[in-house]
Amino acid sequence: MSDASHSAAVVYVPRDSAARSVGADEVAAALQGAATRGDFAIDVVRNGSRGMLWLEPMIEVVTPRGRVGYGPVAPEDVDGLLAAGLLDGADHPLRLGLVDELPWLARQTRVTFARVGITDPLSPADYVEHGGLKGLRAALDMAPSEVVAAVTESGLRGRGGAGFPAGIKWKTVLDCADELKFVCCNADEGDSGTFADRMVMEGDPFLLIEGMTIAAHAVGATEGYLYIRSEYPDAIATMREAIELAREQGWLGQGILGSTLDFDLHVRVGAGAYICGEETSMLESLEGKRGMVRAKPPIPAIEGLFGKPTVVNNVLTLTTVPVVLADGPQAYQDLGVGRSRGTQVFQLGGNIARGGIVETAFGITLRELIEDYGGGTRTGRPVRTVQVGGPLGAYLPESQFELPMDYEAFAEAGAMLGHGGVVVFDDSVDMAAQARFAMEFCAEESCGKCTPCRVGAVRGVEVIDKIVAGTHRDENLALLEDLCDLMTDGSLCAMGGLTPMPVRSALAHFPDDFLGGRRLLDIHPVNTRTEGTV
């Protein structure tokens, strides 16, 4: 926080790029202008976003009763707000009430996102005041194997899509005898409909640094890389600044927090390739090569970056670790259902009235997310389908909205949770076009290493076009079925292997869009094949 005079009212204006995309900087400037002119005593603090993105820019003023929110605020609203008594939390048509009590937020279980939107992301003091570093301190008091055991016991599974248990991966790296080991954070977040990695990096960057440092201690690594996609300039800048600050604080570098742990962290920027989110492709890219997928084995845990044992985890996996260590594995394990423990950060996007971040225990139904939290479509038309889990995820019809959000339940239904993105479409969507796009996307973003994916996706686009045009329909449907089988079974990674999922689900649930009425392709349960191995 800046140290303006004590009498100044503190007003939070998000610096999150989603909030900035709809005018947060202009609102902050208008407030700052009023302060500079001397009309009002205001200390503007740029926080992360609370994740109620339809209310952005949402500003908060600190009052004796708590933080009062207003939104969405346009720059031209600022003068009126100030005149109405904004700084005392006074009434106004844009007043939302005490932010912590807003039902959308109050009903959530925020574990990973506990601090996002509350603190100044780049204030080390704020971080510590709000519980930061507790996890790292706890971990440094433990032997590496005990840290690994705690993570295993918590039931934490990788949040990057495949849901592989984090503790098991870490143990593999810990058990390697090499001098040099790496921790790599996968912040490529290429899936459409996902933005939680971005929001946590922009809103609570020290948490990711803390999580990676705990991982380093747990497995014996001394160097870390944070691979961030180039589409996220704000996250890149925030993480770079946070790393500098963390070094100054002794949270990175030699003898971290007075312990014997040495660990340093570097940011690497991607260059616009979806496939570089696949972990082995990301490692190739980090090595300065084309992002071509590597065959596994060897698994990255044993032969990863530059051939050394490497932990590769997603941003959300690593930002959950500090909480697991601070509160103990049991508290985390107690949340969730079945083998899906803890919370998941669901991201509601697309045609939705109230889009944003919903962090809640696994097991919530899709309908609760879309209707209770999301409020249906933004256009006000009926919801027709949602795509869950990114561009490789299934399109689900309304009849499946009772599905609980749980890795196994989704796999059984021929769908996948992936990174927790939920993209809503209204009844104007053309599902043949969406199926075609899935193939087009695969053709565009394939790394090119294997034929079923590289060539199959191009053929897929052609075949779908023929089906829609009514050219030799039955033959082409059979061909598409074959092609989907071939891509599923014959692709080296899940890019080619899972592209049939959106295609098949569209054909199975929305056959009318392709021709008339008949169910066109069957959907099969997902077998977690190429993905999810350590």
């Binding site: 709809v22 339809w54 459409s192 690497r268 300065g288 090569k289 045609n351 561009p391």
Partner: protein, 157 residues
């Protein structure tokens, strides 16, 4: 930002950038980003210099430059506008934005003849709850309709 483009200048820029990144492991991507930031693109003349400096074959360097969407072989226009075409933005009418750009005489992936604008497609900018999303010269815009896209393309936003 841009230099005269003569061989000597490209070469000197590349050698200096490589020197700045000398200590990094597998430095080619950061080096290419830095070269592009200075020169606006990765010129053909940069490739042999990079190969020489980093002890790689020209084919390796060329392979990397062409693999990634971000690296340009030609300079972009003064404004680069990227329209998100991924699913969440599709659900909110991203295709309408693409049609609008086409009707304005712009082709995705190309720079206008007068060098003012380059329009590209991108798959997800992480603003999926506030789409359709567009990015222009590194700045993100949410809830973009055709009229707003028009102002962004004209540089009046």
């Amino acid at each position: 930002m841009t230099t005269s483009g003569s061989d000597v200048t490209v070469e000197s820029v590349v050698r200096r950038v490589v020197a700045d990144h000398r200590g990094q492991r597998g430095a080619l991507l950061p080096v290419l980003h830095a070269v592009q930031a200075e020169l606006g693109h990765v010129p053909q003349e940069a490739i042999p210099v990079l190969a020489d400096e980093l002890n790689l074959s020209r084919a390796d360097v060329h392979g990397v430059v062409t693999f990634y969407h971000d690296f340009r072989r030609e300079p972009a226009g003064r404004t680069t506008v990227r329209i998100c075409r991924a699913e969440a933005c599709q659900a909110l009418g991203a295709d309408g934005l693409v049609s609008y750009a086409r009707e304005a005489g712009l082709t995705l992936g190309e720079t206008t003849a007068d060098g003012t604008v380059t329009v590209e497609q991108v798959f997800c900018l992480g603003n999926c709850a506030l789409g359709p999303s567009v990015e222009a010269n590194g700045r993100l815009y949410g809830r973009v309709g055709p009229a707003r896209l028009g102002s962004i393309l004209n540089g009046t936003v």
